[in-house]
């Protein structure tokens, strides 16, 4: 097995382990930490596939921003002082069964398909990606920026405290 193969195996294991922590543990902060770990694993997978720029972006955005934002949100909204409520057995079983079923269906699709070329290759460099973003897909790029601005404004407006006597907004 190649170096890439080993990196992929390790990153994949980390990602899956982190995901299990993210959905399995009871404490919400532990879930967030597991999520961050999973995202690190995913970044490793990207790196093993040759998309190192993407790996960096993932670490920055998800681990750096999203997870932190989630911590903020948990602080502001979670009933941290209340005792944990017990989880219902049938819900766990049902969700597990359904998830397993969907995963099985997807996996069988993967197995049955006849893939064309099974060796990785091609130019995955950041320069090429950046060039494409700013030439062929510049519209999408700009729209995403507008979307981010709008999302920020929306988030602020939604989460504002309403002060009495100051009008609707």
């Amino acid at each position: 097995m190649t170096v890439q193969g080993w990196i992929f195996a390790g990153a994949g294991a980390v990602a899956l382990f982190g995901a299990l922590l993210a959905v399995g543990l009871r404490n919400i902060f532990h879930n967030i930490l597991g999520f961050a770990l999973a995202m690190l694993g995913v970044a490793g997978v990207f790196a093993s596939l040759g998309s190192d720029f993407l790996a960096a972006v993932f670490v920055l955005v998800y681990v750096g921003a999203v997870a932190i934002a989630m911590v903020y949100a948990v602080m502001l909204s979670h009933p941290l002082d209340l005792p944990h409520r017990p989880r219902k057995g049938w819900k766990i079983a049902g969700a597990a069964a359904l998830a397993a079923g969907v995963a099985a269906a997807l996996w069988s699709m993967v197995r049955r398909a006849r893939w064309l070329d099974l060796a990785p290759g091609g130019d995955a460099g950041a320069a090429r990606t950046g060039a494409r973003l700013l030439t062929d897909y510049v519209l999408a790029f700009e729209l995403v920026s507008v979307l981010l601005v709008v999302a920020m404004m929306g988030a602020v407006m939604v989460a504002r405290q309403r002060r009495p006597g100051r009008g609707a907004w």
Binding site: G94, A95, L98, G101, V102, A105, L106, S108, M109, R112
Partner: protein
């Protein structure tokens, strides 16, 4: 349209218009309603007189029809007017008696809150009865026959707030309906066999040499006879008529003595050619009516309610009319119908004057109100009873003689003997009624006399309205008897002529029996110090048997009524449990299903997601597995 035909149409249209106007618009104007009804009947009476003059006097016949329901092979159903001596005379009788009753009711029903409705229904009856009489086709007759039954139902149950009249009206309608089933079947068979229902055509087809076989004619005649038995209260279907006395007395005078119940007799007279071609049916009718005549006479002998006596008497006299017809003489039967209309209406109206005064139907109570003071009523009662008993020179004598003569010629000796016996009983019970009513009972308390005297001044005009028709009809009983020969020439041409004043064994026997009956009644009830108990009343078992309709109602209650009620209960159970249950079950299943499905809309996001994901997974699996429908 020629003159007489126009008159026929007018005679029907006038009461119909009056009925419609009264019932639609004049419910709160009793005076206007009564005036309109009387006006309409006067017009009808004038039209009837014209018809008689135009058709009956010269003894011609007119048939005017227009096709209503064309049939592919054959002339189709044509409605119209059949005018001859029989129908025009009957129309005259109907119009005259109805008019008299309407005038009488001005007094009798003066304080009734339903006054306008009453006149509306009377006009309805007049239209239906005239339509029946003048119909040219048997189906048309049937339609009016049922309408007459409807009018009877409405009028018997006029005071519908009380249970008695309501039950009596239902009983009348249902019992006559039982007979009408036969009538309807007969008409349908005739239409199917002959292609149309026009009366002259049917009679021609039934006559020997016509299109019908004797077996068919006999069947049809028997079926039509069922309707007659129901409507004219004969044989097993008579018990509705005594109960029908719950209606107002003028209604009893009009419908249940003179006209409606006579419709059955009229039908036999009208279709006589068909009946004559079925001699077995006629023989059956002869015996049935004979038994009915005697039975009804026995019931009249023990009744204490004056209207019931008259009701039984009507049944008995109708039986005599049918006997005359069954013996082959249309003239005799119809003549008796006409005179009976005159004197029975008279008797009812006279009785009504007493009832109105004494507020009771019981003869013994009426006697306590010194009815003798009501001169018109007393005259009417006596004159009518003399006619009923068949005493010369009153009309009843002549018509009864005609019937007995016909029986003597064509029926056996046994029949004749029993018919004479019935005549004797008739005289007995009618004068029992007279003496019980008019001769005061044992000494009355002073307040009765005071009460009787006190009534007179308040009701002056209504007394006149009641007295006038009574006196007119009483006068007529002396006149109508002389018309026998006229009827004979028109209705039974070719039969042997009997002089009106013929003396012979027959008439003398009848007169002797009448005298005997009257004498017996006087002996038991009339003379001073009489015990006022009849010879039958001394035998309690017999008295109860006669008084209770020969226990026929009890028999019906135990059998037919019980069966019908059981059937009704079963039907109700089925309706409530099975049908309603099915409907309710369907509804609750829908609601339950809806509630179940509502669980899908739990508002629970994770459930929505799981459903969506599950469906997609299933779809993927299916596509992977081949992805074909079916």
């Amino acid at each position: 349209m020629s003159g007489p035909v126009t008159a026929a149409v007018v005679a029907q249209a006038a009461p119909l218009a009056a009925c419609a106007v009264i019932l639609l618009w004049l419910r709160r104007r009793p005076g206007t309603a009564a005036a309109l009804a009387i006006l309409a009947l006067t017009v009808a009476l004038g039209a009837a007189v014209y018809m008689v003059a135009a058709v009956a006097v010269p003894n011609t016949s007119l048939l005017a029809t227009s096709v209503w329901l064309p049939v592919s092979d054959g002339p189709g159903l044509a409605f119209g007017v059949l005018l001859d001596s029989l129908s025009s005379t009957m129309a005259l009788v109907v119009a005259a008696v109805t008019l008299a009753v309407m005038v009488y009711s001005l007094g009798y029903m003066a304080d009734d809150p339903g006054f306008a409705r009453y006149y509306g229904f009377l006009a309805l009856f007049a239209w239906a009865m005239l339509g029946l009489v003048l119909a040219s086709n048997l189906l048309q007759t049937l339609v009016f026959w049922e309408l007459v039954g409807l009018a009877s139902f409405l009028l018997i149950g006029f005071w519908f707030e009380r249970p008695g009249p309501a039950a009596a009206a239902r009983k009348a309608f249902i019992m006559t309906r039982v007979g009408d089933v036969g009538f309807l079947l007969g008409v349908l068979l005739l239409i199917r066999a002959a292609g149309n229902a026009t009366i002259p055509d049917l009679i021609a087809a039934a006559a020997p040499g016509g299109a019908f076989t004797p077996g068919f004619t006999t069947t049809v005649a028997a079926l039509l006879l069922m309707g007659v038995i129901g409507k004219s209260a004969q044989g097993p279907l008579f018990t509705w008529l005594p109960d029908a006395m719950e209606g107002p007395t003028p209604v009893s005078a009009l419908l249940h003595s003179a006209t409606m119940v006579a419709a059955g007799v009229y039908l036999v007279a009208r279709m006589h050619g068909l009946f004559a071609a079925a001699p077995d049916v006629m023989r059956f009718l002869l015996w049935l009516s004979l038994i009915t005549a005697l039975a009804a006479a026995t019931m009249a002998m023990v009744a204490n309610d004056i209207k019931r006596v008259l009701a039984y008497s009507s049944i008995s006299q109708l039986a005599y009319m049918l006997m005359g017809l069954a013996a082959g003489s249309v003239a005799a039967g119809f003549f008796h119908l006409v005179t009976h209309a005159g004197f029975k209406a008279l008797l009812f109206m006279a009785a009504g004057m007493f009832i109105h005064h004494a507020h009771s139907n019981d003869m013994r109570e009426i006697a306590g109100h010194t009815p003798g003071r009501q001169r018109a009523g007393a005259i009417g009662l006596v004159a009518g009873s003399l006619a009923l008993a068949g005493v010369i020179p009153f009309s009843g004598y002549f018509s009864k003689e005609a019937v007995l003569a016909a029986l003597g010629e064509h029926a056996g000796t046994a029949v004749l003997a029993l018919a004479y016996a019935g005549a004797g009983l008739t005289a007995y019970y009618s004068f029992r009624m007279v003496f019980l009513t008019l001769r005061g009972g044992p000494a009355q308390a002073p307040e009765h006399r005071a009460g009787a005297g006190g009534h007179a001044p308040e009701h002056g005009r209504s007394e006149l309205a009641m007295a006038a028709p009574v006196l007119v009809l009483a006068a007529l009983t002396l006149v109508l008897g002389w018309l026998g020969a006229w009827f004979a020439s028109r209705l039974s041409p070719g039969a042997e002529e009997h002089g009106a004043l013929a003396i012979g064994a027959g008439p003398l026997t009848a007169l002797a029996l009448a005298a005997a009956g009257i004498a017996l009644a006087w002996l038991e009830y009339g003379r001073r110090g009489a015990a006022r108990i009849g010879f039958v009343e001394r035998m309690p078992a017999l008295r109860d048997f006669f008084a209770d309709n020969w226990y026929l109602d009890r028999l019906y209650a135990a059998t037919v009524v019980r069966a019908a009620k059981a059937l009704a209960r079963a039907a109700r159970w089925h309706d409530q449990t099975v049908l309603d249950g099915a409907g309710d079950g369907f509804a609750s299943a829908t609601v339950g299903g809806g509630r179940l499905l509502a669980h899908l809309q739990s508002g629970y996001v994770q459930m929505y997601v799981s459903v969506a994901v599950a469906v997609m997974a299933a779809l993927a699996a299916w596509l992977l597995g081949g992805g074909k429908l079916a």
